[in-house]
Point group: C2
Chain length 337, copies 2
Amino acid sequence: MSGSKIGKQTFVFSQPPVLIGHAAVAGKKEGEGPLGSSFDQISMDSYWDECSWEKAESVMQRTVLALAADKAAIPPSRIEYLFAGDLLNQSIGSTFGHRDSEIPFFGLFGACSTMGEALALAAMTIVGGFAEITAAVTSSHFCTAERQFRFPLEYGGQRTPTSQWTVTGAGATILAASGLGPAITHVTPGKIVDAGITDPNNMGAAMAPAAYTTIKQHFEDTGRSPADYDLIVTGDLGSLGHTIVRDLFKRDSVTLQTYQDCGLMIFDRERQQVDAGGSGCGCAASVLNGYLLNAIRDGRWSRILFCPTGALMSTTSAQQGESIPGICHAVAISTVG
Amino acid sequence: MSGSKIGKQTFVFSQPPVLIGHAAVAGKKEGEGPLGSSFDQISMDSYWDECSWEKAESVMQRTVLALAADKAAIPPSRIEYLFAGDLLNQSIGSTFGHRDSEIPFFGLFGACSTMGEALALAAMTIVGGFAEITAAVTSSHFCTAERQFRFPLEYGGQRTPTSQWTVTGAGATILAASGLGPAITHVTPGKIVDAGITDPNNMGAAMAPAAYTTIKQHFEDTGRSPADYDLIVTGDLGSLGHTIVRDLFKRDSVTLQTYQDCGLMIFDRERQQVDAGGSGCGCAASVLNGYLLNAIRDGRWSRILFCPTGALMSTTSAQQGESIPGICHAVAISTVG
């Protein structure tokens, strides 16, 4: 088995790695949202029985991987390499989550696009002939993100209408060289795109140009069009970013008929007061590994393009007046060849 | 071309990807050290003509990649995929450094082991058949690391004898499916190992068990022994960690004859007041891409095992009383098959 590249930057897998197991865990608010029933575990306690939110996020990473392995009917010890990341400084959600796992570990940082990056590398490891079974895991937690990137929660800072709500959630996917389940047929890894947006409360606008660039490149490289997918779904652009992507394609006379965004799907914006929608590494990860992959297995869709998006910024870069570069990786998942 | 796995966790490349270009840049203090003449560029200005140290680190990432491409005699646009990381929160050294590069980007976090992780994935991308040319880049900067992880520099905090000095430096490697130069024959990606050390001023001791575990696994998987390498070199364990690794192998009745550490090589500890030695993603990266690869090209060594080590902690994990998990990836570089 080996891979190849088509066009400028897209990997194509002639023997697509199979997603033999997947799981999602989420917090209370996410559990009360429209996708609540698709999560394998929902915690009513934001601390997940730990003494800090950071430790809770590590528990989420560990729990969701165990659940995914269980659903794949394999012992976690059969996972040969693990690709994981999160939003916390120095990725402590992932590293502390898996420190006792005994699985060779690749730490990743792609902000909220990390699930796409992890799936890409986990798939390449199998297709390249390096492993039979790999896993991809990412997470985010509203409380760890708020206090790291914005304000202490106790401060009760005001939110702007363009701000997004960091999802408390995690998703894990188990990939295998063979087996039953949907498979990854193509990956278009993204470039960094900086449109000059400097408002950290408007990350949808900052990430939208990256999503547009990667998806457009995916179509060019593969010769596919929006009609080839039952669903195109971006990571967490929220309402504003989602509209911008649609508009950018309209300028090219391309209509995205079935285009959704994980940040819009996970919450009911009318009812749940999340402003522009959900965000965080755990948003795209929990929507994919909960709702989307369940729906593919149930036969609702047979081919989707999963495009998580990340805002590559830090509090330091924002304080130094830098703009917010974005990135997006596109992963084609299909039940058919 | 495709890869395979031998033993428990080691990749073996039957057609080893070639390191067609490599470059290292460093700061003033590193330039005054024993390896000063091996760096391609040394900056006397810690700001590298920028207005902040973080922006300086981004310039180092960009500069070192351009220098490596130049030495490989390829335009940077021929690099198909870039693997990069650093120590800064949300990896802003890398993401801002390459935001205008137009190269599809994989962001990594493995603390000071990141150069090993980046080389592993850049090599796998080629061996798996996904690209002809890839690149790996990492960096660190004394001033960005001190103020992020320890104290504002102006505070003049006291240092302990076990503390290490974060290297201001960056290294880049260009890998290709064919060409002239040393090649990567094996990679043993590491597991996270936590020995329970809680002192952030003694990271050598925290990382040493991970180095021992990965190197031991490498020998088991490949059937090789220390005698098969002209040099085994860990990332940046410093004097204490270096001694611990040697002692751990001694317990197994294994003698590491030619064992060095990048953190000990880059500074003259007698003269330069760096306590236990150098550290940071840029330490192993600049020593490899400056001194080590130059020496291999000059015929001094024909086979080395490069084992950068990382301490997977953050200020938050330390403040919450957590121990410091370590990781180490082993990369076998050889001029012969």
